[in-house]
């Protein structure tokens, strides 16, 4: 019994809105009810799938150019007819037009469509109109920027250029401008006339030199990334919670100081100085997430914050020292050199450390071990390495230095180029020196994750017999003395299994069982 067709129209239309347009159209042949539902359907998406599927690359059909043009015209006709039907329909939920074209005459066709469309009170509008001719742009009809019903606007590949009469987007909540040409004047007007806006994204745009936002009490999230000519960013938005900027290393004046509610700040490839950073950071008492990547002018960072929960410092290649006092910090990610590092973060749960390329000599290892020791209290620590070789600590050093991560419970090594990596038992040997009493050890790469789970016997007193691993100086009992059982997963090669089996049996003095390294499988 078909009870689904009895459901209210909006529900059936909601189903249709999630299907490709052509399939939606096909449903009109199912029954009279479905035909009725389709005819009143308020979502139109003329996007890649709509156009490409029908007149681009069918390898099984050899169509002549006139044939292709005929099909294209058919599609355009259909689109135009549909828009005419909807012209007086109240509230089209969503309209998308994404198309690229050579023929400059088509521009007026799209102007006309947009005209019809705006008369139908669309809510979500996505326009991506790309001209496939060098340095030519599709000029967006000004009426789009005065559409009173639009709540979500995404524009790509077109040009917003004066003169525009009346910019007013009273319902706009989310604005996204991608690869668009927009002049300063227009942006200024745009921003001043969308009082309800909550989310703004400006990426890859040209023409804009100055991104200035004042007032806008509802604005919560702003992304400004890779805009080619941007020279100035000025934000005076009291309720802003998240700001992300990516600058392609170009100098750009950035002022965010008035945004006191900021919780998330991400700066990438930004030409900011130590002074800028310290002045600004103190303005954000509520900051919880901070990410600084590829900020090459930073040399010395001092952070003191009660709220900071997550910190990322990656590839700020000229950093020489870092001082962090963050009692709420629970997540830390670092990619850089073994620089002097001071860390107060008792709540740290997970750390991710990637040492950048460097000359690997004794001095480097000493610094690296010193650096790692600052993260001893992290529950989970991930080490990232290209081949894993820089994580194999030389034996001479193991005798004279203290294992840095003796409190870490879960240690993971991520290898980027597993085919060039050293043998697994070499890695395990070194990792177990670095962290002598872990609960789990992971070695992850593109080929999967090798897992080692360690089960220890509770020893009541320290074994005093020497085991040549320098473990007496460490306040915990090293694995060689108390490891009872090992559970291994995903170690697949025979030679690997053999070597690991030998390694564990040789070194773990009270070992009883190893699961998962059997030679027969």
């Amino acid at each position: 019994m078909d009870r689904i067709s009895e459901l209210p129209e909006p529900i059936l239309q909601q189903i249709l809105s999630l299907l490709p347009m052509t399939q939606g159209l096909q449903t009109s042949v199912l029954s009279k009810r479905w035909r009725h539902v389709w005819t009143n359907f308020p979502v139109l998406e003329f996007d890649r799938t709509f156009f490409d599927a029908k007149f681009s690359n069918h390898s099984d059909t050899r169509e002549s150019i006139p044939e292709r043009l005929r099909k294209r015209d058919e599609l355009f006709n259909f689109a135009e007819q549909t828009l005419l039907i909807y012209r007086n329909f109240k509230g089209i939920r969503r309209f998308t037009l994404e198309i690229s074209f050579h023929d400059p005459e088509l521009a007026s066709l799209f102007d006309r469509w947009i005209g019809y469309l705006l008369e139908s009170n669309v809510y979500e509008l996505k326009l991506g109109i790309l001209v496939l001719r060098n340095r030519e742009w599709y000029n967006l009809p000004g009426a789009v920027l005065a559409a009173k019903s639009v709540t979500m606007l995404t524009l790509s590949n077109c040009k917003l250029r004066l003169p525009y009469s009346d910019i007013k987007l009273l319902s706009l909540k989310k604005l996204s401008l991608v690869d668009v040409y927009i002049e300063d004047e227009i942006f200024k007007n745009l921003v001043a006339r969308c009082p309800m806006i909550e989310d703004m994204n400006l990426s890859g745009c040209c023409g804009l030199k100055s991104f200035e936002v004042f007032g806008l009490l509802k604005l919560k999230s702003v992304e400004v990334k890779n805009n080619r000519e941007l020279e100035k960013v000025e934000m005076q938005v009291l309720n802003l919670q998240s700001f992300e900027y990516s600058g392609r290393y170009k100098p750009c004046e950035i002022n965010l100081a008035p945004c006191k509610s900021l919780k998330t700040l991400k700066l990438c490839m930004a030409a900011i100085t130590d002074e800028w950073f310290h002045d600004h950071f103190s303005e954000f008492p509520l900051l919880e997430n901070l990410a600084l990547s590829d900020c090459r002018m930073l040399e010395s960072i001092r952070i003191s914050s009660h709220h900071l929960k997550r910190l990322l410092l990656c590839r700020c290649d000229f950093l020489v020292e870092v001082e962090i006092d963050a009692p709420s910090l629970c997540s830390f990610k670092y990619n850089g050199d073994t620089i002097p590092f001071s860390l107060n973060s008792p709540a740290l749960l997970q750390s991710d450390i990637h040492f950048c390329l460097s000359v690997i000599d004794t001095a480097w290892y000493v610094q690296m071990i010193e650096f790692l020791s600052k993260f001893n209290h992290s529950k989970l620590l991930t080490l990232q390495s290209i081949t894993g070789k820089n994580m194999v600590v030389p034996n001479e050093l193991r005798e004279s230095l203290l294992p840095p991560l003796y409190n870490v419970k879960h240690l993971k090594l991520k290898i980027h180029k597993p085919l060039m990596s050293c043998a697994t038992e070499e890695l395990v040997d070194s990792l177990l020196w670095i962290s002598p009493h872990p609960e789990t050890l992971f070695i992850e790469s593109g080929f999967g994750t090798k897992t080692f789970k360690f089960i220890y016997k509770k020893l009541t007193e320290r074994r005093e017999d020497s085991c040549g691993c320098g473990c007496r100086s460490v306040p915990i009992i090293c694995w060689r003395h108390c490891l009872q059982e090992i559970e291994v997963e995903n170690v697949s090669e025979a030679e690997e299994r053999n070597k690991l089996t030998k390694f564990f049996w040789k070194n773990a003095k009270i070992l009883e069982r190893i699961d998962g390294l059997d030679s027969e499988l």
Binding site: M1, D2, R3, I4, S5, L7, P8, I11, Q14, I15, L18, L19, P20, T22, Q23, L25, Q26, T27, S28, V29, L30, S31, K32, W34, R35, K54, K71, E74, L75, F78, K220, Q241, S242, K263, T264, E288, N289, K309, R310, S331
Partner: protein, 187 residues
């Protein structure tokens, strides 16, 4: 499948002591549902807000809903409330928001995987009756996923839709929109 006359009381409790409401399905199932979860059913909410809190444990009969469906609905709504709370706690932190979103997506994928086509349709009808917007959106997405890019014949069979067009009418529709029906016969 419950037997008639056998009451299977199911406690749907997530926290310690919360007020519960008793819901009875048309096939004899009895459920004690946490009030916050039950208030997600807008059809119940209006009842409570009109009458005020009259009795501590009022028992409500749901004529269009069966046991199997209601237990699934309660499962989903309980988790949805939890995710909602987690999301609110993570507000402003995009990474944490993403994690909650992923966790939710994982749960929803598993939830829907276990549903047969029949069950999915029954749930839509039940949730439409109970008026639970969030879950309805989710079920609709799931149905769309199952019929996307399938042939007309498949969709017809999926929903069990009776064709009430005359052959001439059907032909006309095909002709008017020929390009949309190209290469569509195979599934």
């Amino acid at each position: 499948m419950a037997d008639d006359g056998v009451n299977t009381k199911v406690e749907a409790v997530s926290k310690a002591t919360t007020e519960t409401i008793e819901l009875r399905t048309e096939d004899g199932g009895v459920f004690d549902v946490d009030k916050p979860v039950a208030m997600e059913f807008l059809i119940l909410k209006s009842f409570y807000e009109d009458e005020g809190r009259v009795f501590d444990k009022t028992s409500i009969r749901l004529p269009n809903v069966k046991q199997l469906e209601l237990s699934k609905v309660i499962e989903y709504c309980t988790r949805a409330l939890e995710f909602g709370a987690k999301s609110a706690a993570a507000a402003g932190d995009k990474d944490a928001e993403r994690m909650v979103r992923q966790e939710r997506e994982g749960f929803e994928a598993e939830f829907v995987d276990e549903l047969s086509n029949e069950m999915l349709k029954e749930l839509i009808l039940a949730v439409n009756f109970l008026d639970i917007k969030e879950m309805l959106d989710f079920l609709i997405r799931s149905v769309a996923n199952r019929i996307r890019n399938r042939s007309v014949a498949y969709v017809r069979q999926f929903f069990d839709i009776e064709n009430d067009f005359t052959p001439q009418e059907e032909d006309q529709i095909h002709q008017e929109n020929a390009w949309a029906f190209e290469g569509v016969d195979a599934d």
